[in-house]
Amino acid sequence: MSALLTSGDVLSAASDTNDHQALTATLFVLVVLLTVGITFWASRNTKTAADYYAGGRSFSGVQNGFAIGGDYMSAASFLGISGAIALSGYDGFLYSIGFLVAWLVALLLVAELLRNSGRFTMADQLAYRMRQKPVRTAAATSTIVVSIFYLLAQMVGAGALVSLLLGVDSQTAKNLTIVAVGILMIFYVVFGGMKGTTWVQIVKAVLLMFGTLLISILVLAKFGFNVSDLLGTAAENSGKGSAFLEPGLKYGATTTSKIDFLSLGIALVLGTAGLPHILVRFYTVPTARQARQSVLWAIGIIGTFYLLTLVLGFGAAALVKGDAKDRIVESGGNLASPLLAEAVGGGPGTTGGAVLLALISAVAFATILAVVAGLTLTSASSVAHDLYANVWNKQADVTGAQEVKVARIAAFVIGGVAIALAIPGQSLNVAFLVALAFAVAASANLPALLYNLFWKRFNTRGAVWSIYGGLISSVGLVIFSPIVSGKGLDPTGKNLSLLPTSIDISWFPLENPGIVSIPLGFFLGWLGTVTSKERTSEERFPELEVRSLTGAGSEK
């Protein structure tokens, strides 16, 4: 925390010309104080392993619905999607739709059944009828990889964002921000466990919905609540005319880019229900019925939010002008929402503009904190509950207290690793990691989860092959994709791939591997199963069916 305060001082001192930066820094500190307070309160109520991993399973459906919203609506959604709409028009909206429709998979096929058949982690549900060690190792590996990818994207984004919002573009400030965010997330997870993390996410979801709604109403009011006028002005001011309101500006260039978009669309819709940090949220409620309520609330909140990002994105295209517009382009779209807030508050240099800019910046900061906390907790839980307690440990039984101790240590290690990777990661374009996390979740986790719930014959080898197969193929294809090498330089001389232009190992034409790796994950799950002679998993299947549908014998 002290790192953050110091960086706040440095930043506000450096920007004495702008009131809003001091105000922004103050609101950031308030967000930090509020979440730290919540964490202290939660730590006093965290005693058992079920408290630490699952918040004592004591949250209501409404609370968990908000927390899911807080966990899911990342900075990539809040800033990224509105920014993509502001710059590429309609194509930015395509993300929102995949992100929302995906929740039907979670609602219909996963949430309730998982709540009834698991305990603390994604692997629990597989371990119910498989050999524990191999499936837990595989599921934990995939959990950690997905979470670290997602975490890195958020932390690098945080570094860039905070320095942009506070108006200081020094590398030291960015590094300090990353370290501060890392320390905060370790603090939330170590002390607050699932209770603290959940409340941080609930508070963030409320702040985010409030901020988004406020700015949207202000935008719509400028157009007399006539959406057609808003769209018309956005198209006109974008300089692209009616093409700005149609699909194709971003993804429609070539057949390859179209197939790439199809691949992304499939990964988005199937990935959500395989994201480990989302799955563990279903364990925080007492019953499957509350898990269903959680998802229903989450769909309402997330859907409303994505509808509002449409207003924010087109609003930014329509209303942000001059220097501010150049800054949106420079930031790759990430500053669209904050600068729109400034514009509807009265514009640069006005008190209203400064207040709203500071408010939206603080909301974005809270968003990042809540998401990274959820990711760190999920990985730490998987290390402690899957790997330590059930794979590495040679003793007969590990107590809950021992597990929680290990989870806390794991949170330190994972947080440290994330900081250590995020600092050098800043020089790379890591935004692709979010889409990759969805692709891995859809290719590695979802096949195993669905087969386990619905296919009697499914067994250990099938689970292990689908998880590792989906994981290795999705990550492997990206290594040989244009993301890593072979894209060349853009007109300004900037390298578009991760590796230097002298190295070209690319042969896979798509940036999104889902269209290949998801079917492959399902295929390997089938192949592994039918080539294995294991039959014990079938004997436990009736139990799993009864338990997952009725809740009989589920964790209380």
Partner: protein, 112 residues
Amino acid sequence: MTEKVTPEAHAAYQRIHASPEFARLQSGYLRFVVPTTVGFMLWYLLYVVCSNWAPGFMGTKVVGNINVALVFGLLQFITTFAIAWVYAKYSARAMDPIADALNEEFEKEINR
């Protein structure tokens, strides 16, 4: 090594699994989720495919500056909300009472 279950619980699970009520619960669940999942997936894929390969259709103006692409996108929101709402009603009516009854039987049986 899988999770341990007591012999009483094992017997109760087997008995419930063989009961007609459980068959009714399971078929009621699958009858809803399987066609619905296939339906919304195809509907979503149709939207993605149209966005990619039917620009003329998607660009058609409906009212003012509102075109088919926007309406199609908003319809995805509406169908998502609608399916969620219908599932909530359906599961509360057709599934929850059976699940509760079976769960109660299970509790009684293992606590005997």
